[in-house]
Symmetry: C3
Amino acid sequence: MSSSLRSRIYTELDRLTLIDPHSHINPHAPASTSLADILGYHYYTELAHSAGMAKAAIEEPGLDPKEKVRRLVEQLGPLENTIQYSWLIETSQRLFGFTEKRVTADNWETLYDLAAAKMAEPGWEDKVLSESNIESVFLTNDFDDPLEGFDTTRYIPCLRTDDLVFHLAKPEVRERLERASSTSLTGAASLHAAIGVLFERFTSRGAKACAISLPPDFSPEPVDQATAETAVQRMLREGITADDETRRVVSHFVFWTLAQFCADVRLPFDLMIGVNRGVYADGVYQGQDLYDSRVSLIQYRRLFNAFPQVTFPISVLASVTNQELVSYAWIFPNVVANGHWWYSNTPSYIEHDAAGRLEAIPQTKQIGYYSDMYKLEFALPKFAMYKRILAKVLAERFVIDRDWSEEEAVTLGHRVLRGNVEAIFRV
Amino acid sequence: MSSSLRSRIYTELDRLTLIDPHSHINPHAPASTSLADILGYHYYTELAHSAGMAKAAIEEPGLDPKEKVRRLVEQLGPLENTIQYSWLIETSQRLFGFTEKRVTADNWETLYDLAAAKMAEPGWEDKVLSESNIESVFLTNDFDDPLEGFDTTRYIPCLRTDDLVFHLAKPEVRERLERASSTSLTGAASLHAAIGVLFERFTSRGAKACAISLPPDFSPEPVDQATAETAVQRMLREGITADDETRRVVSHFVFWTLAQFCADVRLPFDLMIGVNRGVYADGVYQGQDLYDSRVSLIQYRRLFNAFPQVTFPISVLASVTNQELVSYAWIFPNVVANGHWWYSNTPSYIEHDAAGRLEAIPQTKQIGYYSDMYKLEFALPKFAMYKRILAKVLAERFVIDRDWSEEEAVTLGHRVLRGNVEAIFRV
Amino acid sequence: MSSSLRSRIYTELDRLTLIDPHSHINPHAPASTSLADILGYHYYTELAHSAGMAKAAIEEPGLDPKEKVRRLVEQLGPLENTIQYSWLIETSQRLFGFTEKRVTADNWETLYDLAAAKMAEPGWEDKVLSESNIESVFLTNDFDDPLEGFDTTRYIPCLRTDDLVFHLAKPEVRERLERASSTSLTGAASLHAAIGVLFERFTSRGAKACAISLPPDFSPEPVDQATAETAVQRMLREGITADDETRRVVSHFVFWTLAQFCADVRLPFDLMIGVNRGVYADGVYQGQDLYDSRVSLIQYRRLFNAFPQVTFPISVLASVTNQELVSYAWIFPNVVANGHWWYSNTPSYIEHDAAGRLEAIPQTKQIGYYSDMYKLEFALPKFAMYKRILAKVLAERFVIDRDWSEEEAVTLGHRVLRGNVEAIFRV
């Protein structure tokens, strides 16, 4: 019974057209042009590398896309158990018409050609979105992105601020900010003003969120004016040779300034908490980051108290932080649980974490899922994975364990899948 | 099969009359007098506030109980998914005769009146206990509670010691202690003596436990006599202006003294580990506390080694600490796992944590559940929730996975539900 | 369906003959000679002690084996729920022909005699291995073990290095090293050379791994030559009176040297991360160790980066560290997930941890299980427990949730049970 129950709930969840509240889509090239775009996704390159493939074989300069696919396919065997491999197969079957369960040395060219043909069809981008039941997608835009040349109702801008908070000491970042804001940076006031210009441009272009990823040891705090002024000026003078404390103060000043602007212009501030960059120095591109799971939302206590008017959709990198997220979202009106991020975006962690959220956070304060994708073709299998797990949790923990009707369960599912995205980001 | 198996085991578990080993019941007003007592439980006010209700609307001075209920009901929609909401509905249906699955703007007055009528019946307190299958309930008594005017075999005193350990620098706490102990505090010896008087009164009035809740950074340690003397005298002189180190030393001295008295009078010492008070400063009453899940039972290593003769029933706030609790209870004869506390008192965490305990801690060393309730009407739905999960774990992990008979599973369930409460607290 | 599916998969997994990649078997006395060897396993003595049995009753000098068993059996009642008790029963039934479900005061002598008779049969060791479907077993050898007098293809040597890294300041450890390496220790160079001799002997005797258990606060780092020289010389002069920093530096120097030799001779380096020794000072033999679950694999970042050519099969003590292990094994080519260790070796933690690994780590980079046993009779019930859980995870999370065929699921199971042991340790 449970199995057909799950499948009925899944079917109902799957009918819904969704808004994807976080991705890395390039709106000027949202869809793939060859299977190399699919297999070049860091999940495949890093797993293939982890399973023994040389980085040089993957990242050889000028490598032909087809040859890249051929090489990666040779190394896919060790990954066949992973959920990431299942995304590849589901996409290949449902979007490209591939009919096999594995991609092998014998059949990859068929798949390559099938994909190439589909991707070359006019309207492929529209078709992918429509088959994936996705109507719009949040972007991750550099702060100096001109946000021009694309439909911002389909591809919704989001101001990504990692560079501003953590890399402003680098001359190129500072110059990008000066150019993007038409502001000459001379101290804390002009830095504040420059950030204000960014918020103005982003909101005028339809941005619906500000976002940042944060290392496990970050603990936001306000900085008094004099301290900020001294630190900003020193950083402007000394750049990356500025001492750690100076750079730390500037980070805190910029972060707090961002939160203040989010309050002023009513933008939710997505916090993605817990990543350490570059842990595996010789890893493949985008396959170098890991984490220290010893992080606590208590580090954000001052922030949550200081900005009651800002909504903070929060993603945590490690499942062991999920219960804190549940508890903080249950207590703080401005804390919202957001999706299943990266290393927690695998079925057993999603199941565990989603169950904890659905039974203790108000149903209006949780965003079920985002794709985090770089190419549109991944929305389908990633959301499908989530919807299957959501259907399982709803079937087992609500219909069976708590005697809910299927209709009630589906309504809750629809809310976390879509309704809350609309309400929280006001799209 | 699993579903009817669970239901058969549940039925057997549900037959048992229980002793609730931890609550916040006021023995002079144990039952509710209106639905405002039910909806005023911090679980509803904090969740309603988290979902958008203004604190002022909930905590308006002089607010009429019925108006309070009306306002809260308006905000219940967002909470309908939560397990806490299900407690409200189960209580309403089973104790008040409510027949609907939701409390809404349209039906709340019916429920209000049903509840009021029941609560006004003579013997309501007895009836609630009897319908809940509860025969006695542990209290949480302030150290200066006179413990008079109630039946201490039904409402079992428990000496709560947070104020002594953490707030003795406050003049009012010190005065309460001096009054309650008829002792003038002049130094470590008189403080020790005063605490001794409390233990004497509590045990003479049938107290069965000493209890305390502890922040994540607390790590008990003995204090030598000279250091204690200096710190206690300074704290007595300086009160809340005493420096942090002085207050820290006094905390440790008092805590260690409590453990010593527990040894002397053979009282179990309930440790509730992990809460940070007042994290959300503008939260509703009792809805301000959160935690840092980075806590370890290794912090209690000296305590467990120093007091082998004291039983420590331990509750942990975060599920990520549960495995440590399992391991420490498996190794230390004096460590006992106790219930599912607060933010871990939701089904998926209970299921995970109970399973871990039942398969690795000796069956005599685990207390299944306590209600933590403020009003008697909550024992029924909270224990029912626990018994359903316990039945699920016993069915799936013992009968199915380990080939136990149903009778064996039920016997284990009865032991953690009741037998161990009797044996460990000697009631 | 799920239940018969699980049982079909279990049957197929159970057919396979295994290599046990980690144990504490004494190759000169691998099998038990009486039930006292079975009940003397620390799991029973520590749990019986935890449940109330005096340490003195267990560890009385000169205690007759039969009397020891009689005493322990008296205290087994409280442990009947534990998975460890189920190992005892399964072994008793399947290896000794015991027919009851419990060992009691009434039947223990029957069991004692049954076991004694079996153990006295010629070829008992072979029979246990054959009935357990085990063909070879990794040992845990002291660094000065002569590795002689046993079949190293059946009992595969493994160089255990805790003493070298953490106890070299003790005169007896130093002397053992000097003797074993025929090297006089005078400084860092001779220490390096002495360690080299050990590696040479171990590899010439067929060792397939180097191994160590590590406390939660250990964070390996390289030591420059001058610092190492100074510290080693001081430690050689001062022994256990050497200051903490000196001993810390020597630990790091030795550990890094071990990793270097693992690289040179191509031995995997098993890291068992997270144990604190002697936490419960008055515990029974081997029942004194616990942990602080606040440990992170980020502490090993320099090691993993510095030795890409060394494979590190990693065990973590606490389930809360398992997701880090999943993520690090997914990113670092040289990190492999290894078994379910000690306090995480109970069904619900295994199930949770195995599921996380199977869906995100390349299938070639995970070793399902090792027994950690001291006597051969425990391989059967421990591997059986693991295989049942593995069958459950494969049935529920692969066949049902992901639509795999049973054959595919069994193939994955076989790989983590045996194939990877062969490939990773090159046996």
